[in-house]
């Protein structure tokens, strides 16, 4: 039984490290801010979550120590990282960062045009 849990811990921590590595590759390889944000906000989230889960299981199985802070950390990362990704890409769009080779750029452009006109009317 303890061997199975050890194998699960090893697999979880290795998967977490691998996903973080892939997220770093994605940030280097992908063409623009938005696609990089895809890689950073998804792969890094699951990577950190599985490393934390592996750490939690290690201390619970080997030392009998139930560390609830790791569980809280997993929940907080799960809740906050999609919001962080959304806010970064929204700020990038509002600052006028161009997209790479866009095929369809829908209503957001027209919406942004109306916003700009509103901003011009204000001052």
């Amino acid at each position: 039984m303890i061997e199975i849990i050890r194998i699960i811990i090893i697999v979880l921590i290795l998967i977490g490290a691998f996903l973080s590595l892939v997220a770093a590759f994605g940030v280097i390889r992908l063409p623009d801010v938005y696609t990089r944000n895809h890689a950073a906000s998804k792969a890094a989230t699951l990577g950190v979550m599985s490393v934390l889960l592996g750490t939690f299981l290690y201390f619970y199985a080997e030392e009998g120590h139930f560390n609830s802070r790791l569980i809280l950390g997993i929940i907080f990362i799960f809740m906050t990282s999609p919001v962080a990704g959304h806010l970064i890409s929204r700020a990038a769009y509002n600052a006028g960062v161009p997209l790479a080779d866009v095929s369809v750029q829908d209503d957001l452009k027209t919406k942004k045009g109306s916003q700009v006109s509103v901003n011009q009317e204000k001052p």
């Binding site: 696609t35 895809h38 209503d107």
Partner: protein, 158 residues
């Protein structure tokens, strides 16, 4: 929903007082009997029997987990592919959800969906602007979002 849970706790405490034993096991037994009573009297409440909503919330959490793992596999495929042939773009998605928390949960789910990321929500809360990694299969992703996620969120708030 909150009223039903409170009533269930109250019935469990009444059970503990009737039994004159104050340990967690008695509380659990009383909670179970209170659940049966609330189920029997469910047509006197305004909202649904609250266990159904608890099941819907658990279902939503499972969908979150599944989407997180699937989107990671999709990202992995895109990044590790030798030739980079993605066609990113932004599309609009009209949503039928109205409450603020529903739209927040929906955009969190969409952000964790394979290849999509919410960029903006329109001021009247009716349109979500989504950046997609591969714009080719927009219709497919829109229909899948509509069918699975919106339905699951509506199931919670019904």
């Amino acid at each position: 929903m909150a009223f039903q849970i409170l009533l269930n706790f109250f019935l469990a405490f009444v059970w503990m007082f009737l039994k004159v034993s104050y340990d967690p096991v008695t509380f659990l037994v009383g909670y179970f009997f209170g659940l049966l009573i609330i189920f029997a009297f469910r047509r006197f409440f305004d909202s649904r029997f609250y266990l159904l909503r608890v099941v819907a919330v658990i279902n939503l959490l499972l969908i979150f987990m599944r989407e997180l793992i699937l989107s990671n596999i999709a990202i992995l495929k895109v990044i590790l592919k030798p030739k980079l042939d993605i066609r990113p773009g932004i599309f609009a998605l009209e949503t039928e959800l109205t409450e603020d928390w529903e739209i927040t949960v929906l955009s969190g789910l969409i952000t964790l969906t394979p290849g999509t990321l919410v960029i903006d929500v329109s001021d009247d809360n009716r349109i979500l602007y989504i950046h997609a990694m591969d714009i080719g299969d927009v219709d497919e992703s829109v229909s899948s979002i509509k069918n699975s996620f919106e339905k699951a969120i509506m199931e919670v708030s019904k």
